[in-house]
């Protein structure tokens, strides 16, 4: 039986989670399994205030004046290509789908840019490019799909609503929850490092 646990980092301080926080979380999942429970609800959530650093938009499509590291060109290309979803009209799936607004697209691509830059600046790793896709309710999905992991992040059309995410390793480890796409969630960032 596949077990799923919410794997968020929780701390009242501004300290980032330790590097091995996901492994620690996995250990807790294992403990939960050994104790016989079918559901594991250990939850950590890192509620850090916004970082002082300004993670500006990717030095790419959104501000072409800044030079772009060659290793991130694939991200700028997928962002630029995703503009086509703004051309979708009402009922674009023949089932009543709503069009995608410029504001939603901008929030989704700004979120992606922020995380890509954070990973690049802190580790020199380049995230894989996600599929940037329209959703019938007017929201946008960012989807990473590889043989060893899958991650889906949904940026809602209503800017006041939290974004949702789910990821797993196609086996027994998964992560899910909600977050404010305007800030950097370190727990989600840790998971996204898989996508490099």
């Amino acid at each position: 039986m596949t077990r799923t646990a919410n794997a968020h980092w929780c701390s009242s301080s501004r300290d980032a989670p330790p590097q091995n926080w996901l492994e620690e979380c996995h250990e807790n999942i294992d403990l939960g399994c050994r104790s016989g429970g079918d559901e594991v609800s250990d939850t950590w959530f890192w509620n850090a205030p916004p970082a002082e650093a300004d993670y500006s938009l990717l030095r790419t499509t959104l501000d072409a004046r800044q030079p772009l590291p060659t290793a991130l060109r694939h991200i700028s290309e997928v962002i630029e290509n995703s503009r086509t979803i703004l051309q979708l009209q009402d009922d674009w799936d023949e089932a009543g789908a709503l069009p995608i607004s410029e504001q939603t697209w901008r929030r989704a691509t700004e979120f992606l840019s922020r995380y890509v830059e954070r990973v690049w600046d802190t580790s020199g790793d380049a995230l894989d490019a996600p599929d940037i896709a329209p959703v019938p309710d007017g929201s946008i999905d960012l989807h990473w799909d590889s043989p060893t992991y899958e991650m889906l992040i949904n940026i809602p059309s209503d800017a006041r609503r939290a974004a949702g995410f789910y990821g797993d390793d196609r086996d027994r480890i998964s992560i899910k929850g909600h977050f404010d796409p305007q800030s950097v969630n370190e727990g989600l960032l840790q998971w996204l490092r898989k996508a490099t």
Partner: protein, 126 residues
């Protein structure tokens, strides 16, 4: 024998775990690599056609533009293993096969529905 459209209401039946459902997927729910996007499984009441009363071709031909749609199949028992999802036969006067996958389609649910879906009628040229 009466045409389906002449029948006011079909009896609601229970859908066995061993059966399959067909779901149309519009071309705009396909990635450039021709795999399906999780957005194809967004509706809280996700419309499908029960294979007991519909073929995959029937499901595709119910679309306004059949050529713009592919069809996937899902095993009922696998759908029911996904969190908070139920399979409910909800026949329409014009479609006895109509069945809904009912439940909130969180990101987790959409990923898992996509994962259990098998393409049975691919898209034509995109």
């Amino acid at each position: 024998m009466a045409e389906e459209s002449d029948v006011a209401a079909w009896a609601v039946e229970s859908v066995p775990d061993s059966d399959e459902l067909y779901r149309r997927v519009h071309k705009n729910h396909f990635k450039p690599d021709r795999t399906i996007r999780p957005g194809a499984f967004r509706d809280s009441n996700l419309s499908t056609d029960w294979a007991k009363y519909s073929s995959a071709d029937d499901a595709r031909n119910r679309a306004r533009t059949p050529d713009d749609n592919a069809v996937v199949k899902m095993a009922v028992n696998e759908v029911r293993r996904i969190p908070d999802q139920t399979v409910e036969h909800s026949p329409l006067p014009c479609n006895r096969a109509h069945t809904e996958v009912v439940g909130k389609k969180s990101e987790e649910v959409r990923v898992l529905l996509r994962r259990i879906s098998t393409l049975v009628i691919p898209l034509g040229d995109m």
